[in-house]
């Protein structure tokens, strides 16, 4: 961005004296032969002595000598702004080249480069490029290059490499000449002695000197008579000026003129105080929110900025962001407190990220498997073998999390542990206030964890389980193989029991007998109620068989039930297997179920070649689809007709 050259700042309007003669001569030489005489030309002087005037005058003069010359004038701020814009557009080369094509580049106020290493580096490259393309560079500053704070040595060398000239304070004669010319420009006639008074007046620079002249001119304008040197002196020194023959009552004293200055000063003080008040408001907000752990870089940025801001609005906007963060944090805490520890929930600049994280978490959040609807507590037949476990189950359904937590149901395979677990889960539903009832096999539990580890989603996986209103975990013996899964279960168990949620486990042996189970987990399991679900006794077997057979075949004779119940069967599942064979035989042969039929059916199967016992773990597995798979129940379809024929032939 190149500013227009101020038309008032020409070489002719510059009063040349001993103080600036060298600088003006150098300027002329540069304007006549840009890029060859002194390149760069560095002009420095105290403020108000005409640096900018001379700089712009060099520009005008260049155009006078060479009308089609291209002159670029910019302040250091313009330079920095243009540079930053070029950086953001990725067009730095164009930026430098744009200026290298000019004949003269004038840069004002380079002292502002102090402590700006990046801009210094750019100016160095910029100056080098201009030098190479023979473009004249003229710079001004309020001090010589060597005195600009922290200026890079190479840049000093580059800037001082041409000619460094200064403009000194003008002497009395020059001041007088300046005053005379300025008074003429303004069309005001002032006596030489009056101007001499002004020239003698203690001012630091030409700008101030002209300010004093303005005061005298203003006074002369309201006075009907010509101002005398004494009056001027009195005016400037704060005395009572008297113009010749004036009406004393209408005179305006210098003290009175200053009344406005005093007023202005007061307003300035009050306003500055108010701006300070905003700053302290900002500081308070920064202290408050950083103490609460939030990032306050936005507010700090405003505090560091020179420009005052509407802090109230800024703080309100900041607090609105914090509020959104808090909402997001609360929401994600609902899933998992660990997720809420993510730093995005403490950075108001990253609200969008925090909210996106909550959304992502919600999406990945499906309920873990729940209890199957196929089982109910009421179907359970009470017998000696089941009454303890059933009694415990009914107590925890009445008061979840209060009586026995955890409840560990221990029993051999096939006695109905899984059945009971799901039945308890179903029965707990009304008491968990809509929270998920998690009923899952230890195997699935572990598989899910492994998946979560693979997908780096452990916190979400964890959070899903911690949401549970009750946890029922089947076959925990299987967990003894994994340390990590035991760790997770340990923390999950603690979280749930602390929150008063019911936890139920099943295992084939008592926790103390599970080898590989972590001690801290073992002691927690033992610390609840370990209830046995034993193999069914004769009475229970009878009851089971009666219900099974009558359910399919209608009324059955008592001896059949007695006969079947006497058969060796260690589990409910085995008992049911016996009943099923009789049902199949009766249905396939179209005969009534009798003891004879049963004997025939059972003997036929026992005559089969004994199969090697199969290694088995869980008898019942709840499939991820929610159905029930049972390896033993598959046996119900046996004997396969083909197999049967082969046996007969054999």
């Amino acid at each position: 961005m190149t500013a227009e050259l101020n038309p008032r700042f020409t070489i002719d309007s510059l009063v040349i004296g001993a103080n600036n003669r060298l600088a003006v001569t150098a300027g002329r030489a540069v304007a006549e032969n840009p890029g060859t005489a002194h390149n760069p030309l560095f002009i420095y002087s105290g403020t108000g002595l005409g640096k900018t005037h001379l700089l712009v005058a060099i520009g005008h003069l260049t155009k006078e000598f060479t009308p089609d010359a291209r002159v670029e004038y910019l302040t250091l701020d313009d330079f920095i702004e243009a540079y930053h814009r070029a950086v953001s557009l990725g067009r730095i080369a164009d930026f430098r080249k744009g200026y290298a094509d000019a004949d003269v580049v004038l840069i004002d106020d380079v002292q502002f480069l102090a402590r700006r290493p990046e801009e210094q580096a750019e100016l160095l490259r910029f100056a080098s490029e201009l030098k190479e393309s023979n473009t004249q560079l003229v710079l001004t500053s309020d001090r010589p290059p060597t005195e600009i704070a922290d200026l890079d040595d190479r840049l000093i060398e580059r800037l001082a490499g041409g000619l460094v000239v200064d403009i000194a304070e003008p002497q009395f004669e020059t001041r007088l000449a300046i005053l005379k010319r300025r008074a003429e420009d303004r069309g005001v006639e002032l006596g030489r002695d009056v101007l001499a008074v002004v020239a003698e007046y203690d001012t630091k620079n030409v700008r101030e000197l002209l300010g004093v002249l303005n005061r005298v001119i203003a006074f002369q304008a309201v006075s009907e008579n010509e101002l005398s040197a004494d009056a001027a002196r009195a005016l400037l020194e704060g005395g009572e000026p008297r113009t010749k023959g004036e009406d004393a009552t209408r005179a305006v004293s210098a003290a009175e003129i200053d009344e406005f200055g005093a007023f202005l000063h007061g307003v300035e003080a009050t306003l500055t105080e108010q701006v300070e008040a905003w700053k302290s408001h900002l500081r308070d907000a920064i202290r408050l929110w950083s103490a609460k752990g939030y990032r306050t870089s936005t507010l700090e940025g405003m505090l560091a900025g020179e420009e005052p801001v509407n802090t109230d609005q800024a703080v309100r906007a900041y607090e609105a962001q914090v509020e959104r963060l808090q909402t997001a944090e609360r929401e994600i805490k609902g899933f998992d407190a660990v997720l809420a520890e993510n730093p995005v929930f403490r950075d108001p600049d990253r609200v969008a990220e925090a909210e996106a994280l909550v959304e992502r978490t919600k999406e990945g959040f499906t309920a873990p498997p729940g209890p199957s609807e196929a089982f109910s507590l009421d179907e359970f037949l009470v017998g000696n073998a089941t009454k303890m476990a059933l009694g415990a189950a009914r107590s925890i359904v009445e008061a979840p999390g209060e009586q026995y937590n955890p409840l560990v149901i221990v029993g051999p395979s096939g006695v109905g542990k899984t059945h009971l677990l799901h039945a308890i889960g179903r029965a707990l539903e009304p008491a968990t206030n809509g929270r998920w009832i998690v009923c899952v096999s230890a195997q699935s539990f572990m598989d899910e964890l492994v998946n979560a580890i693979e997908e780096d989603q452990v916190p979400v996986w964890r959070a899903r389980y911690r949401q549970a209103g009750a946890l029922l975990l089947d076959n925990i013996d299987l967990l003894a193989v994994g340390d990590r899964v035991q760790d997770e279960l340990f923390y999950l168990f603690n979280a749930l029991t602390e929150a008063g949620r019911q936890v139920v486990f099943s295992a084939s042996v008592a926790p103390r007998a599970i080898s590989g189970l972590d001690d801290r987990l073992r002691s927690r399991l033992e610390g609840g109620l370990v209830a046995n679900l034993d193999a069914p006794d004769l009475e229970l077997r009878k009851a089971i068989l009666r219900r099974q057979l009558e359910g399919r075949l209608g009324e059955v004779e008592a001896p059949l039930v007695e006969y079947l119940a006497q058969q060796p069967a260690e589990s409910v599942r085995a008992v049911l297997g016996l009943g099923q064979r009789v049902i199949t035989a009766a249905e396939s042969q179209g005969r009534r179920a009798t003891v004879d039929l049963a004997r025939q059916a059972l003997e036929a199967s026992s005559s089969r070649a004994a199969r090697p016992p199969r290694a088995r773990t869980a008898g019942v597995v709840i499939s991820p689809a929610g159905g029930i798979e049972s390896t033993e129940k598959m046996v119900w379809r046996w004997p396969d007709p083909i197999e049967y024929v082969i046996e007969e032939l054999g």
């Binding site: 007023f263 300035e268 009050t270 306003l271 500055t272 108010q274 905003w278 005052p308 801001v309």
Partner: protein
């Protein structure tokens, strides 16, 4: 009109000189006008009758320059004092950031002062402005007259200043107390910047 505009970085204070006819409101503005350097003041607009009474209102814009990053302007208004110009008074009062109540200290003018003060409160109330929150100061003008003609500051305070506002004795013809008053009201107005920043 908002006192402060953050977008354009401007502060504009509208200060209204209120009071009964002939209490010296215009004189206050004239005195200020004469003391402001020409480049700081705008043209003083004064619509007066042939007998020099303010017919409509006086308006004096002051450019205070850039203070703390804000271009700061004061706009000083006077209202016509005579009772029958109430419509104009209401108009001028609209959007005022501060009010200077210029009372005539002469004993015989006391009723006019009280009447004008009541009129000010009525007009503010009508505009929905709470007189208790509006920055306001009192000026007891014409204190330069012979003592037997004027009431003292404490007598005037008793009669007019029941909210314990800042009050300034003044003699606007000679300038005594004029800038003190302006300074007093400015202070109150500017202090509001941090007390209740605008939207």
């Amino acid at each position: 009109m908002s006192l402060i505009n953050f977008t354009t970085r401007e502060i504009t204070c509208k200060i209204v000189y209120y009071g009964p006819g002939r209490s010296g409101k215009t004189t206050n503005l004239q005195y200020i006008y004469e003391r402001v350097p020409t480049d700081r003041r705008g043209k003083m607009v004064s619509l007066a009758t042939r007998t020099d009474r303010t017919l409509f209102f006086d308006f004096l814009p002051l450019e205070l320059g850039t203070i703390s990053g804000f271009t700061t302007r004061f706009q000083l208004y006077t209202v016509p004092g005579q009772v029958y110009y109430n419509a104009t008074r209401k108009l001028v009062l609209q959007g005022a950031d501060g009010v200077v109540f210029v009372a005539d200290s002469q004993a015989r003018q006391l009723d006019e002062n009280i009447e004008s003060m009541q009129n000010l409160q009525e007009n503010l109330l009508e505009q929905g402005v709470d007189v208790r929150t509006l920055p306001m100061v009192l000026q007891y003008n014409k204190q330069g007259l012979p003592p037997d003609l004027v009431l003292t500051v404490s007598e005037l305070d008793d009669a007019l200043n029941f909210r314990s506002l800042h009050s300034f004795p003044a003699d606007a013809l000679t300038g005594t107390g004029v800038f003190e008053t302006l300074r007093g009201v400015s202070e109150l107005v500017l202090r509001r910047l941090s007390e209740e920043p605008p939207e």
